[in-house]
Amino acid sequence: MEQNVVLEMRDISKNFTGVRALSHVDFTLRKGEIHALMGENGAGKSTLIKVLTGVHEFESGTIHMDGKAGEIINHSPQEAQENGISTVYQEVNLCPNLTVAENLFIGREPRKLGMINWKEMNERSEKLLESLNIHVPPTQMLDECSVAIQQMIAIARAVDMKCQVLILDEPTSSLDDDEVEKLFVLMRRLRDEGVGIIFVTHFLEQVYAVCDRITVLRNGELVGEYETKDLPRVMLVAKMMGKDFDDLADIKSAHEGKKTAEATPIIEAEGIGHKGTIKPFNIKINKGEVIGLTGLLGSGRSELVRAIYGADKADSGKLKVNGKEVKINSPLDAMKLGMAYLPEDRKAEGIIADLSVRENIIIALQAKRGMFHPLSRKEMEEAADKYIDMLQIKTASRETPIKSLSGGNQQKVILGRWLLTNPEYLILDEPTRGIDIGTKTEIQKIVLDLADEGMAVTFISSEVEEMIRTCSRMAVLRDGEKVGELEESELSQSSIMKAIAGGDDKNE
C-alpha cells in the first residue's frame, strides 16, 4: 500500500440477482483528504459504500486499511465501525426519541457499577459538541433538533469513535446553504486532523467547494480518479453522463415564446394559513405556468402548498379553484378538484415501499375512484406500462417492489402516479432532491412540457439555478411568511438571493 493511503479497495465486484452493480472497481482514499464519489443514480456509489461498510457482501475484490494487516471484510456496519469506518447517511440514522447525548453514546454508554453514568455521558457530550462547534444542549431530544444539527451529531458520534474513514452519504441534501457551510467547516477540520472523508453528493458546487479528489463511477464501473483542480465542471458532468452533455440551461429556451397571452387562474388563495407553520398568504396560480416557491429551509415553502392541498388543513382564508370557492378538508378533496402533490420526503411520504411499481402508480387514481370502483388488472398494467415507458423508469418489471428502485426512478414512479390522475394543478415539492443530474434534467423537461399543455405547476427546489431554469414566476418565503413575488424578468441568482435574504425590505 502506498504511503498516506488509509483505505484501498481493489477490483471490487458485486451482483444483485443477475444485475451487475459493481464491476472491478478500484477506490483509494488518502489520509486527510475529502474525496468525492460521483456518479448518476445506479452508477454504484451506494453499492460501493454498502460493500465497504458491510451492509452488502461482495463477490470478489480486496479491501485494505492502514494499520490493519491483511484484508479486511466487514460483515456488518458495527464491524466496519470497529475497523474505523463510520457512515453518516442522507436520512439520519439516529433515534429521534432519545436525547442528543444518548444518541452520541448509544451502545457505548459510560458506565459506573454497571449502570449508565448519565452525568459523565452528558459532560462528555457537551465537551465533544463544543469541540466541534455544534451548539446544542446534550439533554435536548434529537427530534427537536434541525436536520442539519442531527447530521452533525451523527458526524460527532463518528468522530468520537476515532474513525479513520468517514463516509458522508448525501449529508447536504436537506440542508440550507448556511448549514452546508457549517458542515463544510466541520469537514475541513476533520480533514486537517487526518481523517479520510468520502463525500457522496449530487451538488456539483459542493464538490468544488470542499473536495480534493473525485472518483467517478458509471454503470457500476470505474471511470477514473481525478484531482478536483484538474477537472473542470463540464468535464465532470461529461464523465458522469458518459457523453458530452448539452448545456442544462438549454431546456428552457425551447419552450420560450409559447407563453399563453391571457392568464386563467386555476388556484386563487386568499388569506390561507395554518397556525404554527404558515402565516396567511395570497397566491394566484395560472393555467400553464410554473410558479416556483423559494426561501430557506423552514421558510414555509412546503407548508404553503400543504395548506392548499389539505395535507395540513388550512385554518383560515378562502380558496378558489377554477373561480369557485371550495373547502378542502383532506388530500382527497384536493385530488377531486384536480390537484396533485408530490411530497418533499420521498421515503416517508411518497413511496409505499413494499408495494410494486404498478401498485404505486395506480394508488392515487384508485383512491380517487373509490373503494368500490377498482381498476381492473388490465387497466392497472396498461397505466403502469404507459408511465414506465413515458418517464423511462428503470425497473426490472412493473411488479418489482418500488423500494428496490434507485431514488430517481422512485421519484419518477411517484410523478407517474400523479400524472395518471390527470391533474390540472401539480405541486412538486423538491422533486429532484437526491437524484442524479440526468434524471433531474428529465424531470425539469417534463415539468415544462406539462405546463405547455396547460397544466399549472408549483415547483419547489433548494437549487436556485434549477428554479431559474424551470419557473416563470417565483414566490419568496421567509420565516413562515410569503414576502413577495418575482416576475420572470427579475429572475436571476442575485435577485432571488436578495429577496430570500430580505435585506432591503425596510427601505421601501
Binding site: A311, S330, P331, L332, M335, Y341, P343, A348, E349, G350, I351, I352, A353, D354, L355, E359, I363, A364, Q366, A367, K368, R369, G370, M371, F372, H373, P374, L375, R417
Partner: protein, 354 residues
C-alpha cells in the same frame, strides 16, 4: 432450468406455511396411521382429519379478521376471544329471554343472531376507535376488552351459563339435517370466500396494504387511513361474533368464561405462521388460513398422543418455536450462506485442479 423452477417454488410466499402444515400432518400419519381415514358413523363423517377441520373453524374465522387488522394497523386485536363470549352471551340471552335454560326460543333466532353480531361489531368499533382515531397501540387498546369482555358477557347473562336446548340452535355447531359434514366447516369456508371476494372485487385489499406500509403516504394519495383501520377492526369484531355464535352453538349455551378462551393467541399465531409480517403491510389471507389449520392439526395431534390439556401449551410452544425459526429471515440467510459457501468451495477446488 429445473433448478430455477425449484427456486421459484421454494421462494414463493406460501411455500413455508404449506410445508409446515404438511410436516404436521406427516407426523400425524406416522403416529396415528388412520389419521386420514374417514368413515361414516351415525350418518355423519367421522375421523381425525374431519375433527381437525371442524375444530379449526372458529380459529380460521378469527384468523381472517386478525390478518386484516394486522395488515392495516401493524398490531393485533387480542380481544377477539372475549368478543366471541360477548356475542354468544347476547345471542343466548335474547333467545332465552332471561331464563337460565330454555327448550324453546323466547325471541326469533334471526333477532338473536343480528343482535349478537351487532354487539360484536360494536366491540370492534370500540377497538377501532381507540386504535385508528386516538392512535393507541393496538395491543393496549384491545387489552381493555380482553379483560373487560368476559365481564360484560357475565353481566349480560347475569353470571349464569345460559342453555338453549333447541335442536335448531345446535345446528351451527353440529349438523344441518342429514348433511354428513359438520356445519362449522361451512361457516369457515363461507367466511373466507366472502372476505376474499370483498378483497378481490373492491380495492380494500390494496388500501389496507398501503395504509399498513406507509400511512402518511397513503393519506397524501387520498386514502382515509383512519377510516380504513377502523373498518378492519369492525370487520374483525363481526368475524369474532360469527365465531362466537358457532362456538356457543357447539355447547348450546353461552359460557362466558370458556368460549373462545385463549383463542386470540392462536389466531395471532395463525397469522404469523401464514408468513404474514406482524408489523403490518402486505398480507396473505390464504397463508393465515393455512396457519389456522396447522395449529388445529397440531392441537389434535397432541391430544391424540395423550398429552394432557394443561401441558398442551408447552408442546405447542416448542413446535411453534421451530416453525417460526424456519420462517425467519435470519435463518433463511443462514441457510443461503451455507449454500453459497458450499458453492464457492467447489468452484475454488475446481480452479486449483485446472
Amino acid at each position: 432450468m429445473n433448478n430455477s423452477r425449484l427456486k421459484k417454488i421454494t421462494s414463493a410466499r406460501l411455500f413455508l406455511p404449506i410445508v409446515c402444515l404438511i410436516a404436521v400432518l406427516l407426523i400425524n400419519v406416522i403416529k396415528t396411521p388412520d389419521f386420514f381415514n374417514v368413515s361414516i358413523r351415525n350418518g355423519v363423517l367421522y375421523g381425525y382429519i374431519i375433527d381437525v377441520i371442524n375444530r379449526a373453524s372458529e380459529l380460521v374465522i378469527l384468523a381472517v379478521g386478525m390478518t386484516l387488522v394486522t395488515a392495516a394497523s401493524g398490531g393485533q386485536d387480542i380481544s377477539v376471544g372475549a368478543v366471541m363470549a360477548v356475542a354468544a352471551a347476547v345471542g343466548c340471552q335474547i333467545l332465552s329471554g332471561g331464563q337460565t335454560s330454555v327448550t324453546e326460543y323466547q325471541n326469533p333466532l334471526i333477532l338473536a343472531v343480528l343482535a349478537a353480531l351487532l354487539a360484536a361489531a360494536l366491540c370492534g368499533a370500540f377497538n377501532g376507535f381507540l386504535v385508528a382515531k386516538l392512535h393507541i397501540q393496538p395491543m393496549v387498546a384491545t387489552l381493555i376488552l380482553y379483560t373487560a369482555g368476559r365481564g360484560i358477557a357475565q353481566l349480560v347473562t347475569n353470571g349464569q351459563i345460559t342453555y338453549i336446548r333447541v335442536d335448531s340452535y345446535k345446528m351451527a355447531g353440529g349438523y344441518i339435517g342429514k348433511c354428513p359434514i359438520p356445519t362449522p366447516i361451512f361457516f369457515a369456508i363461507v367466511t373466507v370466500v366472502i372476505v376474499a371476494l370483498i378483497l378481490k372485487k373492491t380495492a380494500l385489499g390494496l388500501y389496507i396494504e398501503s395504509v399498513g406500509i406507509n400511512g402518511k403516504a397513503a393519506r397524501l394519495v387520498g386514502l382515509n387511513s383512519t377510516m380504513i383501520k377502523f373498518l378492519t377492526y369492525v370487520i374483525c369484531g363481526v368475524l369474532a361474533g360469527i365465531a362466537g355464535i358457532v362456538a356457543s352453538s357447539r355447547i348450546y349455551s353461552a359460557d362466558a368464561n370458556n368460549i373462545g378462551l385463549n383463542l386470540e393467541m392462536d389466531a395471532i399465531l395463525a397469522v404469523a405462521l401464514g408468513g404474514n409480517f406482524l408489523g403490518g403491510g402486505k398480507f396473505s389471507l390464504v397463508g393465515s388460513v393455512i396457519g389456522a389449520y396447522t395449529i388445529q392439526a397440531l392441537t389434535t395431534t397432541l391430544y391424540a398422543m395423550n398429552v394432557k390439556a394443561d401441558q398442551l401449551p408447552v408442546y405447542k410452544a416448542i413446535v411453534v418455536i421451530i416453525i417460526v425459526t424456519l420462517q425467519s429471515e435470519v435463518f433463511k440467510k443462514f441457510i443461503a450462506g451455507l449454500k453459497n459457501k458450499k458453492a464457492s468451495g467447489t468452484v475454488a477446488e475446481g480452479g486449483q485442479k485446472a
